[in-house]
């Protein structure tokens, strides 16, 4: 084993040699520089593996004396890990900076090495004064690094930094010497055990030290300087400061925070939380990407402080290594690679004038993939390490303190909103500018992230996680890898992927989940056929669609809470990406993302609470023992995702603005995710149907009101996709309401309705996508008369609207019949009334849909419109055949459903031959189908006798006398079709929810702006803030300590 | 009314002719007309244009246009008469003063062939769709000849002058002599 001290020595030494050697032997100098870094990395990793495999921590005594006389350097697993991080960050950073350094001779490389060396010193040293020295070394070298830039901004922010850190070091120094005075030693380990520490003087001195470190850690509000530094620095240097330097200081904090009594830790936790929330709040207002990253870094520091102090306050000094590794390790790795990666991306994509435009990043496929990966990693989505960290953290905190969970999740919500906003901007760009060489570094970063997470699973840290849950991820990547192939081969491969996933997932699932997974995969594959029509313009779309289908499907195959949460997050992320690839979808995707993430976080809080309360991992047991609060949180999360009334405002835009070909997957499949979630919760939860305050009745009302308002809003839309979106919202409302019933009939109805919704909503969206692709518009009043041009599409839409409206004989009626029966059986009569009203209002938009698009006057520009391509028609008619089959023989479908539901509720319906008997009435789908055929054929045959004299006329051959029809546009009654309805009851359809959420957004924005004003840019203000911060903190600490 | 005429005479070169106590006509020149009408509308409260009509003074080779205005507060009407050349029948549009004047002007354009340049839609069809002859209200247009030429007159139609027709005694209507007595 190499002496770890050598890393430090080599780095320092090479720093000096480099400066001396560079003018004479460039190659040798550079080799030495990188050699030193690689050496350090290699040594650290070697030690790390040593420790992981059971090595014992050692203490290095460079002077040969033990404390208090000599300096002691600690060297254990944590130190080795952090120093690996530091060297890795340093190595990557120096590679990224190589070009800059080579072109302009400066002290940069030396200072860089000094910073690294100082950081290593900070990590290893266990001597207070030694720490002070290393703090100053790193501060000065980073300040120096700042000044190496061409612009004076570096000097300015360096000045501010030195001012504030100077102040901090004064505090540190005073604290140090007083501690020395009290305890007689400078070695941390000895101070900690010193009895003198407990007194007031010891407390104050320790406080000064820790306050100085907090200032260095950029805790709000004493962090304005850091924001300026990170904004003005060269991005790679900013990455170095934000990751390497900060992580080193964080480790210092980790070493010394036990100096203070444990009951004061809550103050640190709060300070960390405030930093976390305020940084992300202020970050929302940033339009400079690098400054946003600065805020993100600061927020991360806050989170670290929270995590460290909180775990310590819960576990004392015996924090389980597993938890510490996952939470801190996960976050630190993410911080290093993702945040560092984003800084490197900024560096790489800056134009010659130093301006950074994030749209340039997304303009290349590789750049897009990389920034997507980095941002998703930062946002804590699976399979990135931060995801596991987040899960573990929230699960651990939920066990003891729910408010902290909510604060953390609020901050995280701000963060993910902000990150996704930038991602949306990045992906918006089309390739206009010259393509850069791929940023290899970021690629490496991404790769390591994925590698780590998979490694984490192999390490067996999560025994409740089955690797098969990551199938969607591999499917997504596999589909992405073949994106260069011709379209049809690509689609065939995609369908194959879905099939393989089915083989892998379906046998492992059971019950409702199994059926669900199979159905989602099947319908996804069916819908994929439509893509055969034409080559894809967007290479992202197909992999994302495959990913969406798989992530939605995998929800049925999960067994543990962690697996559920993982697939839920994957589904959210992938579907948001699918939406954001639409033409003008940036804003709507952000809205979707915001509400989905808010729902997901509620779900996370609920799951974490349930898991920690039950101590179980298995989904069924978790739900079975879950406390009411967690059931409420979980179902609230699902309701958010389902877009029920109140949080529905993302629905129309997300559906309408996503690509026409993507919408069916979102509308028909993704919308089923919350449904299966609700079903799973209520299936397993023991008391979900009793609840503290009739929670399910509330959900039931939310459901029917969603159904009603969805239908009402749909009636007033002009955009066909928005109409269908609101229609989906309404249908989901019915399903939620009947799930909430918690009765046998209700659940049969729910499953039946959900399955139908997949069928006819998929059918509708496929058909309408075909129409839109032919007519090149999605505004209904611009279409019209298409029945003559697209008769097969018309039939498809006709079938689906009959199915949706519940008119017999198509299977929609069965759903409605069971729904009303269930409502009446349960005594939910008023809800039944509202549901009936909703289904009446549904007629309005359904008629409007078919009339405005297919009937009425054809427009001149659509005179040569052709029928949809065969690739659309085939899936369309397969679905129609399925609908007709179900209509004729509903028993085939219903019997399995009823068997599934029987496992949860006692049966209240039974079959008599083809007659389904409920406690209220009966339904014979078979007979109804035949009678309908009969009564339909009778007049038809009568009329067929008269078909000979009939003259087929043209559109304008309508009744008119004084005024002849001018143009098809003026003759087609389409725009604002239900104006009278709006006049009658439009007052209840005012966009109140939209106004409310806009208000929330504006208030958040204003708050963020207010928080952001703290960073005034004036170094003196920053210094004052530091003093104030320290004073206030001291005040609070005294309160708790005494 | 009289004071109005007096005031007008002070400002414009007009002749007046009073028909009733609340109805006067003044003759003006085509050149003065817009100014005169604007004055009447804006300063003399004659805010309403009742009608605009034309008479074919074929003997003078002129059209006489009459602009009838009303003062709703005093119930007084004033008609402004303007004569324009019949051969080159062009008149200033007053559609900017009263929007509905465009309809009258459209009608005059169609029926008399008087052009009002700048009047909106003045050349659009009004009543006659696709008329190809000289404008039918011009007195040199022989409407009877045109009707006979165009409308397939039913043979056997006879026309009697009302005066002679009313004198004839119909045995079915014994009260006719009473009527006859009235028609002299």
């Amino acid at each position: 084993m190499v002496n770890p001290l050598l890393m430090l020595a080599v780095a320092l030494g090479v720093g000096f040699i480099f400066a001396w050697l560079r003018p004479y032997a460039k190659t040798a100098a550079w080799t030495l520089l990188y050699g030193a870094l690689v050496f350090g990395l290699a040594v650290s990793i070697q030690w790390l593996t040593h420790f992981v495999s059971g090595g014992v921590s050692t203490t290095v005594l460079p002077g040969g004396f033990s404390p208090p006389v000599g300096i002691a350097l600690g060297w254990g697993m944590k130190e080795a890990f952090i120093s690996s991080i530091v060297f890795l960050g340093g190595l990557l950073g120096s590679i990224a900076l190589f070009k800059t350094w080579r072109d302009t001779p400066s002290a940069g490389p030396v200072l860089f090495l000094l910073t690294i060396a100082g950081s290593i010193g900070l990590i290893m040293s266990r001597d207070l004064f030694n720490l002070f020295v290393f703090l100053e070394i790193t501060s000065m070298s980073t300040a120096g690094l700042l000044a190496t830039g061409r612009h004076h901004e570096g000097a300015v922010s360096g000045f501010k930094m030195m001012l504030v850190t100077g102040l901090a070091s004064v505090l540190f120094l005073i604290g140090t010497v007083y501690l020395y005075r009290i305890t007689g030693t400078l070695a941390i380990d000895q101070i900690l055990v010193s009895p003198a520490l407990a007194g007031t003087a010891g407390f104050t001195a320790s406080f000064l030290i820790i306050a100085a470190i907090l200032v260095e850690l950029k805790i709000w509000p004493a962090n304005g300087w850091a924001l300026d530094v990170l904004t003005s620095a060269h991005p790679v240097i900013a990455a170095l400061i934000s990751t390497v330097h900060s992580v080193a200081i964080l480790f210092v904090f980790y070493k010394i925070f036990p100096l203070l009594p444990p009951d004061s830790l809550l103050i640190f936790t709060s300070a960390g939380l405030m930093t976390f929330v305020s940084a992300h709040l202020a970050g929302l207002r940033q339009d400079n990407f690098q400054r946003m990253l600065a805020y993100s870094s600061v927020g991360m520091m806050g989170l670290f402080v929270t995590v460290i102090t909180w775990t310590s306050s819960v576990y004392g000094h015996n924090i389980p290594i597993r938890i510490e590794s996952i939470i801190l390790g996960g976050f630190i790795i993410t911080h290093l690679l993702a945040k560092g990666g984003l800084f490197w991306v900024v560096a790489h994509f800056k134009d010659s004038e130093g301006n950074f435009d994030i749209t340039r990043v997304g303009s290349t496929t590789l750049g897009g993939v990389i920034i997507t990966g980095l941002i998703l990693a930062l946002a804590g989505l699976p399979p990135f390490p931060s995801f596991w960290a987040k899960w573990t953290l929230i699960r651990e905190i939920a066990a003891s303190s729910l408010p902290i969970v909510f604060v953390i999740l609020l901050g995280a919500l701000f963060e993910v909103i902000n990150l996704f906003r930038w991602l949306g901007r990045a992906l918006e760009g089309e390739s206009h500018c010259a393509v850069h060489a791929p940023p290899v570094l970021s690629g490496i970063a991404l790769f390591s992230l994925g590698g780590f997470s998979i490694g984490a699973i192999f390490l067996g840290w999560f025994p409740d996680f089955n690797i098969s849950i990551l199938i969607p991820f591999s499917g997504l990547i596999a589909a992405g890898l073949v994106a260069f192939l011709p379209n049809r081969i690509q689609i065939s491969i995609s369908i194959l992927i879905l099939g393989l996933a089915g083989f892998a997932l379906v046998p492992g699932a059971s019950g409702i989940g199994q059926a669900y997974t199979a159905i989602i995969l099947g319908s996804g594959a069916l819908m994929l056929l439509t893509k055969m029509e034409a080559a894809n313009k967007d290479k992202w779309q197909l992999p994302l669609i495959v990913g969406t289908v798989l992530t939605v499907a995998v929800l049925g195959a999960v067994h543990t809470a962690l697996e559920f949460w993982t697939s839920w997050e994957m589904m959210t992320a992938v579907s948001a990406l699918l939406i954001v690839r639409g033409k003008n979808a940036k804003k709507s995707a952000l809205m979707y993302w915001t509400f989905s993430m808010a729902g997901a976080f509620l779900l996370l809080a609920g799951l974490a609470l349930a898991v920690s309360a039950t101590g179980q991992t298995d989904l069924s047991k978790v739900f079975a023992g879950a406390p009411s609060l967690s059931i409420i949180l979980i179902s609230l999360g699902f309701l958010f995702k389902a877009g029920v009334l109140g949080v529905h405002i993302w629905v129309p835009d997300a559906y309408a603005e996503s690509e026409d070909d993507s919408t069916p997957y979102i509308a028909a499949l993704v919308s089923k995710a919350p449904i299966i979630g609700l079903i799973l919760v209520f299936y397993y939860a023991a008391d979900a149907f009793i609840g503290p305050f009739e929670w399910r009745v509330l959900i039931g009302w939310i459901g029917v009101l969603t159904a009603f308002f969805g239908a009402l809003f749909a009636s007033f839309q002009e955009d066909v996709k928005k109409l269908l979106a609101y229609s989906s919202m309404g249908q989901i409302g019915y399903i939620i309401a009947v799930i909430a019933l918690g009765s046998y009939t209700g659940w049969v109805a729910a499953l039946y309705l959900a399955l139908h919704h997949i069928l006819y909503k998929g059918l509708l969206f496929i058909t309408i996508a075909g129409v839109i692709s032919r007519t090149q518009t999605s505004l209904m009043y611009k279409m019209g008369g298409l029945i003559k041009r697209m008769p097969l599409s018309f039939v498809a839409v006709l079938m689906s609207i009959i199915a949706i409206s519940g008119v017999p004989p198509l299977p929609g009626f069965g759903g409605k019949w069971m729904m009303y029966s269930a409502f009446i059986e349960a005594g939910w009569t008023l809800q039944a009334g509202v549901a009936f009203f909703a289904s009446g209002v549904a007629f309005l938009y359904l008629y409007r849909l078919i009339h405005t698009v297919f009937l009425g006057m054809p427009k001149n520009e659509h005179i040569n419109v052709k029928e949809s391509s065969i690739w659309r028609l085939v899936p369309m008619y397969i679905i129609i055949a399925m609908i007709m089959g179900i209509a004729t023989m509903p028993k085939l479908l219903l019997e399995p459903i009823m068997n599934l539901v029987q496992t949860r509720f006692p049966a209240t319906m039974h079959w008599e031959a083809a007659n389904l008997i409920s406690s209220l009435g009966s339904w014979n789908g078979n007979a109804i189908m035949m009678v309908t055929m009969g009564v339909f054929m009778l007049p038809l045959i009568l009329l067929l006798f008269r078909v000979r004299g009939v003259k087929r006329v043209k559109p304008f051959n309508i009744v008119y006398a004084a005024e002849k029809p001018e143009r098809p546009e003026t003759t087609h009654v389409a725009h604002n079709f239900f104006a009278h309805y709006r006049r009658a009851i439009g007052v209840i359809a005012l966009p109140r929810a939209t106004a409310f959420w806009r208000g929330v957004a504006e208030w958040t924005d204003t708050l963020g702006d207010w928080v952001r004003q703290w960073a005034t840019g004036n170094g003196q203000t920053y210094a004052v803030q530091v003093l104030l911060f320290v004073s206030v903190l001291y005040f609070f600490m005294r309160q708790t300590a005494l | 009314m009289n004071s109005l005429i007096k005031r007008l005479k002070m400002q414009f070169d007009v002749e007046e002719q009073t028909q009733r106590s609340n109805l006067s006509f003044i003759n003006a020149t085509a050149l003065q007309l817009p100014a005169l009408l604007t004055h009447l509308r804006d300063y003399e409260k004659y805010t309403q244009l009742i009608f605009l009509t034309a008479v074919d003074r074929i003997e003078d080779n002129q059209f006489q246009l009459t602009y009838m205005l009303a003062d709703e507060s005093s119930q007084n009407n004033i008609g402004v008469r303007v004569r324009i050349d019949r051969e080159n029948a062009v008149m200033t549009s007053i559609a900017h003063l009263w929007h509905h004047a465009r309809t009258y002007q459209q009608e005059l354009r169609e029926m008399f062939g008087i052009d009002f340049p700048g009047s909106p839609g003045v050349n659009d069809n009004f009543i006659l769709e696709g008329w190809e002859e000289i404008p039918p209200m011009r007195r040199d247009f022989d409407t009877r000849e045109y009707s006979e030429k165009t409308y397939f007159p039913r043979p056997g139609r006879s026309t009697t002058h009302p005066r002679t027709a009313m004198k004839a005694v119909d045995p079915d209507y014994p009260e006719l002599p009473l009527m006859k007595g009235r028609v002299k």
Partner: protein, 300 residues
Amino acid sequence: MYIATKAFYLFVSIIVALVWGLTVNGIVRKIVARVHGRIGPPVWQPFIDIIKSNAKRSMIAHGVMFYFGPVFRFAGGLGTYVFIPAVFGSVVFENLSFSGDLLLVMYFIFFGQLGMALGAGEGGHPASAIAVGRGLAQMTAFELPFALSIISLATQYNTLSITDIVAAQQAGVMSWTVFTNPLATFAALFALLGMNMHSPFDIVIAPQEIPLGPPTEYQGSLLGMLHTNRGIFVSAKLILFMNLYFGGALNLPILMVKTFAIYMLSVVVGVAFPRFRADQSIRFFLGVPTVLGILALLIQ
């Protein structure tokens, strides 16, 4: 054999309902005329009109859906009727009521409406589309009190089967729903006014402004079919109301008396009131009738 007998009975039942529906129409027209002090058309005028419409030699069609519109409409009327038991306890007039219940009947009403609306839509006449818009909007409104009333009945009798509901009312006049559940009955009767589209709720077919609305373009046999349907559909609606609220009928004469009386309700209201605008009638139905329906649900 069973099927043949059933089909024959069904045929008889349909013919009776059709003839009765048209006759009621004729009688009402006669009565209204007499009230006006006119002589009025003969009672059989609706039949002549139907023959006349079918006697048109030429017909035009705007497309397949236009042609299917009346077919849907008539099928909707027929279907509604065949799922309702017309005479309680009668083999002939039991129809096909065993294969469905009240919900089926309610939704089958939509079948015809939808088809007609589609046919009218393909006709392409602006007035048709406007009228369909009005009609659908008004329908959503008057279906609400009706639905509330039906739900109230279902909880009252704990069944959705029409035959069972009729059976429960056989204990004498006071066991009729109109007496046992008057709120629900009145809510439904308000809805019936809207359903019959008599004045004041005839904005849909407003003959002067939007020439008859949906059937503007229909003529000849297509119109004849619509008129035929009017006969059967009126019968179906009246019989449904009779069954649900007025104790059903044990034989045809009682059926005739009861249905005629129910029909007269909307006729009397119709001749007495002028027309509502579409939004007014929507708000009307969402007002008092809906409150009645909600009360009917809450009071039980």
